[in-house]
């Protein structure tokens, strides 16, 4: 009404937070489809579990923090974290894996920091890191992709594996599960084999990791859709993908036995997923244009270092957490030049004009 101060802008509302997160979920659909085709029903159950845990934990915490539960649940940010988490754990992982993962992701990494917009670390990656340290064995038992085993575990084996855990399946579990190509490379390296010797195994398929390259392609398609919808800018994904290629290409050209090919690096692990969905997480990522580039290069370098010498098969989660740690510092020292200010650092004590 007149006289009552309407807050700015007096404009029809453009997209709001839940629409932005909704677009991210839509971009993840192709990946879920390919995941289901490659590894069977597991992903749907993991998704249901993860989203269920995430929303319930968030609702409980919002109630405790006296915040309107309806509004914050509808912003879908917890659902996005849950989906990313479900996509990065093995399809047959028992239900307590996503329970613990979501506890760390939603309660500790997000709600303790003040809910959406305030968390310092990427919730999905905190959940994944906590889970990979807590249940190392469960996290290595991936299903053999359809491209290798021509079949995928049917509904009730999946259901039993998830509900009662792998030991309930007894022998069949070892038949249908196998380590990820990256894990295989790591164990091979530890035994001193050269890459070409390891590479003969059919699991490495055409270029890097049979079956997995389709998943990487699905993430690529989803990511391009996001850029098309202008939810994320192209700076971070390009920096991650280009960084990987630039860093691994010389090594591979020099000595294919010692260093892996860039294509294998991208196809095998979840670097493509990280490029489009994890490194571009707005809240825990850097907010300055220069900072975004430093953040992406840092993630790529740390991932490759952990993959080459580290103790974990795919270092993306830890690389992202390590870079999240330094984001407040990066933001502080990469403030962009302000319009009208000279190139060098602004003097702090200038007067108010």
């Amino acid at each position: 009404m007149i006289g009552q101060r309407a807050t700015l802008p007096h404009r029809p509302a453009r997209r709001n937070v839940s629409q932005v997160m909704g677009q991210v979920l839509i971009a993840l659909l192709p990946a879920i489809a390919v995941h289901a085709w490659l590894f069977g029903w597991g992903i749907f159950i993991q998704l249901a579990l993860a989203i269920g845990f995430a929303l319930s934990f968030e609702a409980v915490m919002l109630q405790l923090r006296q915040r309107p539960v309806g509004v914050y649940l509808k912003d879908l940010s917890a659902v996005v974290a849950a989906v990313l988490f479900a996509l990065s754990i093995p399809p047959l992982a028992p239900w307590w894996v996503s329970g613990v993962g979501m506890f760390f992701a939603i309660i500790i990494a997000k709600q303790l920091y003040g809910g959406i917009g305030h968390n310092l670390f990427n919730p999905a990656m905190v959940g994944f890191a906590a889970v990979i340290i807590a249940f190392p064995l469960a996290l290595t038992q991936w299903v053999i992709p359809r491209t290798l085993a021509q079949t995928v575990p049917d509904w009730n084996t999946t259901w039993v594996a998830i509900l009662q855990g792998p030991q309930a399946l007894g022998g069949t579990m070892d038949a249908i599960s196998q380590a990820t190509p990256l894990d295989q490379l790591r164990t091979g390296r530890l035994d001193g084999q050269t890459l070409s010797e390891i590479g003969i195994d059919p699991m490495f398929g055409l270029f890097g990791a049979s079956g997995w390259e389709w998943l990487a392609l699905a993430y690529l398609i989803g990511g391009l859709y996001l850029i098309g919808q202008r939810i994320i800018t192209w700076h971070v994904p390009l920096a991650v993908l280009l960084g990987t290629i630039v860093i691994t290409l010389p090594g591979w050209l020099m000595d294919p036995d010692l260093f892996r090919s860039p294509l294998q690096q991208l196809a095998a692990g979840s670097l493509v997923m990280c490029a489009f969905f994890i490194a571009t997480d707005p809240v825990s990522g850097s907010s300055t244009p220069k900072g975004k580039i430093i953040f992406s290069i840092g993630v790529v370098v740390l991932t490759l270092v952990i993959r080459a010498w580290g103790g974990f098969p795919d270092g993306v989660a830890f690389a992202v957490l390590l870079m999240n740690m330094f984001v407040p510092l990066i933001d502080r020292y990469t403030v962009p030049r302000i319009f009208g200010h000279p190139k060098h650092k602004r003097d702090e004590t200038r007067s108010v004009r």
């Binding site: 101060r5 807050t7 006296q66 915040r67 309107p68 509004v71």
Partner: protein
């Protein structure tokens, strides 16, 4: 047993000697800290903190003799700024020295002023214009509202008027939507 005691005393003595030599060579200098504290004080020179001006109060804080919450014109924001500068915990303003009032300016009631120049001598910032047996008036732009001129005035013709504050665009309602329990 003997060599160990010997070694230890030798070691301690040499370290102590080194420290004494260094401390004599480079004495401590504290005036830059006083400068920074003084910059935070509101410069009303009103002596409500118990010291004859802002600079002496700053020196007292630097030497630890005075506490950081004795300046009412600075208000709680002033105390927080001092705590932030010195890395200490902020304290509530000490009401003994007076409470924080919105900025005021002195105004002389011209019919009752007898031109005795007592307030002119009392004013720490020479903000009062006038001469013996002449009309006195306060320069509003110079007056800091320190209220030192009120006491000496024999006819009590000085009262305090709220200072002219620039317009501030009102704050929008806060962003966190709290559930009304």
């Amino acid at each position: 047993m003997i060599p160990s005691v010997l070694i230890l005393t030798l070691l301690t003595v040499s370290v102590v000697a080194l420290i004494l030599w260094v401390s004599r060579r480079w004495g401590a200098n504290d005036d830059s800290v006083v400068e920074q504290i003084d910059a935070l004080l509101p410069q009303t020179q009103c002596a409500q903190c118990g010291y004859p001006g802002c600079r002496p109060y700053a020196e007292a804080i630097a030497s630890g003799e005075a506490d950081i919450n004795q300046c009412p014109p600075g208000g709680q924001a002033g105390v927080d700024a001092l705590a932030d500068l010195l890395g200490k915990e902020s304290k509530p303003l000490n009401e003994e020295h007076g409470s924080h009032k919105p900025p005021v300016v002195a105004l002389i009631d011209e019919d009752r002023c007898i031109g005795c120049t007592l307030c002119i001598q009392a004013c720490p910032v020479d903000a009062i214009l006038g001469a013996q047996k002449m009309m006195h008036t306060v320069l509003a732009s110079e007056c800091t509202g320190c209220e030192l001129c009120i006491a000496p005035c024999p006819v009590d013709c000085i009262d305090l008027v709220p200072a002219q504050r620039p317009m501030i665009h009102p704050k929008p309602m806060s962003i966190d939507i709290r559930v009304q329990a």
